[in-house]
Structures are given as structure tokens and as C-alpha cells.
Amino acid sequence: MRIRLTLGLTDRPGALLKALEKIAMNGGNIISIIHNREQLAGGYVPVSLSVEFPSSEHFERAKAGIEESGIPVLGTESLERRIETVIIIGSLSVDMLEKVFEGRGEIISLEFGGGSRSPHIRVMFSVSSEDRQAVLEALEELAEKNNCVLVSEEA
């Protein structure tokens, strides 16, 4: 799983190394490191790391290790994208669907079927694990409002 970790580092040599050790010890593979020196806040330099972890347990252990070594974790964000399919039975406009995904996912394909008598839309989309539930709930609400049925995927 790919995670973006934002750490608050003191601007002294060796601080980053301590955090990287904890990540490496837990199987993390670092994809990128960005220092935000101009966003210095409270004496900390926010450092944004994109890391690939073997599992969420590995990530949690690494995060706990970093915090135990005195480095504050200012934020975490899942960069994992899931590809999902839903079928909406009934009729909805493209605009309505696009609104659901604004800022939290991306429509990969929209296929309209069933003609005018029994219309349906097959929607394939990508979404982060964090936003998945909210997107499905928004789709369900939209379907219900428009007398449609949302058929989502069983995990």
C-alpha cells in the first residue's frame, strides 16, 4: 500500500535518517521525499514522504516507531487507488455522476445500456481507499433521489 507521510523534522542533521530507519525496518520502500522548507512551522520543517509498505500493519508499526523516536507525524494519506465498478439501474445524467467524483476519484468509463425502457449505467472509477466509502454513499444517495438502484461490488 502506498502512503504519503508528512513528518515534522527539526532542521538538524540526522533527524530524517532516524525516520528513514524506522520505515526501512518495516519493509517500506521510499518513492519520493519532498522538503517543504518554506512552510517552516513551529520550528519544524514539514517533510513529505511517499512510501510503499507491504501492508497496513507494517505502516502502523513504522508510524509508531517514528513517533516513539520523537518525530511528530503531521499527517498520513493513502495514495492507494482502487478500481471499482457499479451499475446504476435507472437514468442519471453524466453531470450528476461527475459531481460525485469531484475532488475524490476519477471516472474511468461510463457505459449506458438497456435502451430507454430499462436503462442502466455501468460506471468504472478509481478512488482512494480513504474516499471509497464516501463516494459509494454519495452514489447511493444520488441513485435514491432519482429513483434508481445502485448495485455496488461485493468485496
Binding site: 465498478t85 439501474i89 457505459e111 445500456g113 434508481c148 448495485v151 455496488s152 461485493e154
Partner: protein
């Protein structure tokens, strides 16, 4: 001798009665056959050749409310096979309640009383020191509650999902494999005796929702009612939508689920290689357990297979009685 009564002498009642006549040698006599209008009584127990085809036209028929039979102390074990009313629970609810109050063990295939008053009835059974068994109410012959009671007792069930209604599963399967529209698949199910003349409880997901309520209360120790289930049935599902799922290696199934304390029934996209993806009138139920992980059971969910569950409950009660006798 344990005296057993059956309330509800329809197809299932007759089939069960014919099995129970074989239990005489094991100390169980079938002494009461009742329906909502009255009862037949045999103090020594019915035999296979004395079982009537119909009780009302029998010369020994006594018009009475079954509640009176229960109150008179004529039975030690009552099997309730009444028609289901999921909103009032009646008439089964009164029979189950009165039997438990009178210290009578109860086996029921009627979901109604459990959907309406699960906690009340299980607490009543507990306080009276009698058994209330309901294996036949969910998944027909699939041993769900007895499995949980015996084999899964060291583990913890985290979530449950399943295909719990054979009628809708048959309809959706015919739509998937033959491209039939829903109304034709329904007519076919009705012709085969798989769907009621009024199929709304099945199609609208209410029957599945009742089973979800019983599972949640019995296995996850929740206190849920039918109105706590978010229900969406299959009435709007089209064969074109199923075809759109099929193109991606999936199909549409009516799935009941209990996850994170939330109960729902809804049509879902299920991969064709998913363990829950069973076809025809089969039922499937999947537990997620803390230690064991996923466990899926598949079996026939209705009709004669229900007998297997009823007999399993009766055997359990006989074993309990035997054990308590030995302990004395």
C-alpha cells in the same frame, strides 16, 4: 416419555410428523397435531399408520385454540410451523410465548416470532430453563446456529453476509443464464412452487431482511428489529443490467449483510468466482471470524431441506434432556 406437539399441519408438518413417529422407541411420542382451529390428541402418540391426512375432518378433532392445549400441560416439546407474519409475529408468537411460559421446549420454523420478539423470547426461555431452537428459520437445512453454538464457540464472528432467499436467487440466476426478464423468471419460479402467489416479501427483500435480523440477534448479540435493516429488493433489476455485470465476470445477487453493527439487504455485484456466488434456489452464508477468517456454507434454503434443521433441533433438545437426567 417426552410428549411432542406440532402446531401447523401443512406440507412441512405432515412430513415432520411422519419422521417423528419413528422416535417412539427413543422416548418421544407425537401426541398433539394442531392448527389454528383445533387439535387431535393421542395420549400414547401417533404411529405412522394412525397419522391423519387432514386433522379437521378427523373424527377425533377438537375445536379449540392451540394456546389451551399448551396451557393444559399435554406437551413437553412444541414444534411451531405456523404461517409467517413478519410484522405481528402472529399466530406463532403467541404459541411460542405461551409454550415457553408453561415450561415447554420450543422448536420453530416460523421466522415471525423471532423477528418481532427475539430478546423477549430468548430471555423467557432462559428464565424458564427451557430451549428455544430456530435452526429452520434461516438458510433452510444449512446448519448455521448449531454450528455457531458448537464448532465456532471459541472464535468470534465479526461479520456475516449471505444469499438468504432461494426465490430471488432462482430468479436472478435465470436472468443471468437465460437472459429472461424478471417477470418471466418469477412466473417460472411460481410454476415450480419456489415463489408464493404474492411474492412481494421475497422480491422486496423483506424475507432476507428478517433472516438478517435473526442472525444479528442470535449470533452477534445485537438487539435489532426489521425496521433497523436498510432494505432494497430486486424489483428494479433488469436482465440488461445483469448482462452488463456478466460482461465483467460478475452477476447481480441479493445479499444480506451485517457489518459494523449495520444491517442491510441490497442487490450487489458479485464476482462469478466469489464463494457466495451460488445459483438456482441455493442459499449461501459467509462468516468472517476473528481466528478462522472466512467460512462459507452453501445449501438448499427451503422446502424439504428444512426438515433436516427441525430434526437437528429436536435431537439437540432430546440430548439436553438426556444429559440433565444423567446429571440428576
Amino acid at each position: 416419555m417426552i410428549r411432542c406437539g406440532i402446531v401447523g399441519y401443512g406440507f412441512l408438518g405432515k412430513r415432520l410428523a411422519s419422521y417423528l413417529t419413528r422416535y417412539k422407541a427413543r422416548g418421544l411420542a407425537l401426541t398433539i397435531l394442531a392448527n389454528s382451529k383445533g387439535y387431535l390428541y393421542s395420549p400414547t402418540g401417533f404411529d405412522s399408520d394412525s397419522l391423519p391426512a387432514d386433522i379437521i375432518s378427523h373424527s377425533g378433532f377438537r375445536a379449540s385454540n392451540p394456546v389451551e392445549v399448551i396451557g393444559r400441560g399435554l406437551v413437553d416439546l412444541l414444534v411451531v410451523l405456523t404461517p409467517t407474519n413478519v410484522y405481528s409475529g402472529e399466530p406463532g408468537l403467541t404459541y411460542v410465548r405461551e409454550a415457553l411460559k408453561s415450561g415447554v421446549d420450543v422448536v420453530t420454523a416460523d421466522k415471525g416470532p423471532l423477528v418481532v420478539a427475539f430478546k423477549e423470547l430468548t430471555s423467557l426461555a432462559g428464565s424458564m430453563g427451557v430451549s428455544l431452537c430456530y435452526e429452520a428459520t434461516v438458510g433452510g437445512g444449512i446448519p448455521i446456529f448449531s454450528l455457531a453454538r458448537h464448532s465456532l464457540r471459541g472464535d468470534r464472528i465479526l461479520s456475516i453476509k449471505g444469499i438468504l432467499n432461494g426465490t430471488t436467487n432462482y430468479i436472478l440466476s435465470r436472468m443471468h443464464f437465460e437472459g429472461l426478464p424478471l417477470d418471466l423468471a418469477l412466473q417460472e419460479a411460481q410454476m415450480m412452487g419456489l415463489a408464493e402467489r404474492d411474492p412481494s416479501l421475497d422480491l422486496e427483500g423483506i424475507d432476507s431482511a428478517c433472516k438478517v435480523v435473526i442472525l444479528a440477534n442470535a449470533l452477534l448479540d445485537l438487539n435489532k428489529r426489521l425496521e433497523d435493516v436498510k432494505v432494497k429488493g430486486i424489483t428494479q433489476v433488469t436482465s440488461d443490467a445483469i448482462l452488463a455485470a456478466k460482461e465483467l465476470g460478475m452477476t447481480i445477487k441479493l445479499v444480506g449483510s451485517i457489518e459494523g453493527g449495520k444491517l442491510s439487504v441490497a442487490p450487489r455485484l458479485v464476482r462469478l468466482n466469489h464463494p457466495l456466488c451460488v445459483h438456482g434456489s441455493l442459499n449461501a452464508i459467509q462468516f468472517k471470524l476473528e481466528i478462522l477468517g472466512d467460512l462459507t456454507l452453501i445449501g438448499r434454503g427451503a422446502g424439504e431441506s428444512t426438515l433436516s434443521a427441525l430434526l437437528s433441533d429436536i435431537e439437540w433438545i432430546l440430548a439436553q434432556k438426556e444429559a440433565s437426567k444423567g446429571g440428576r
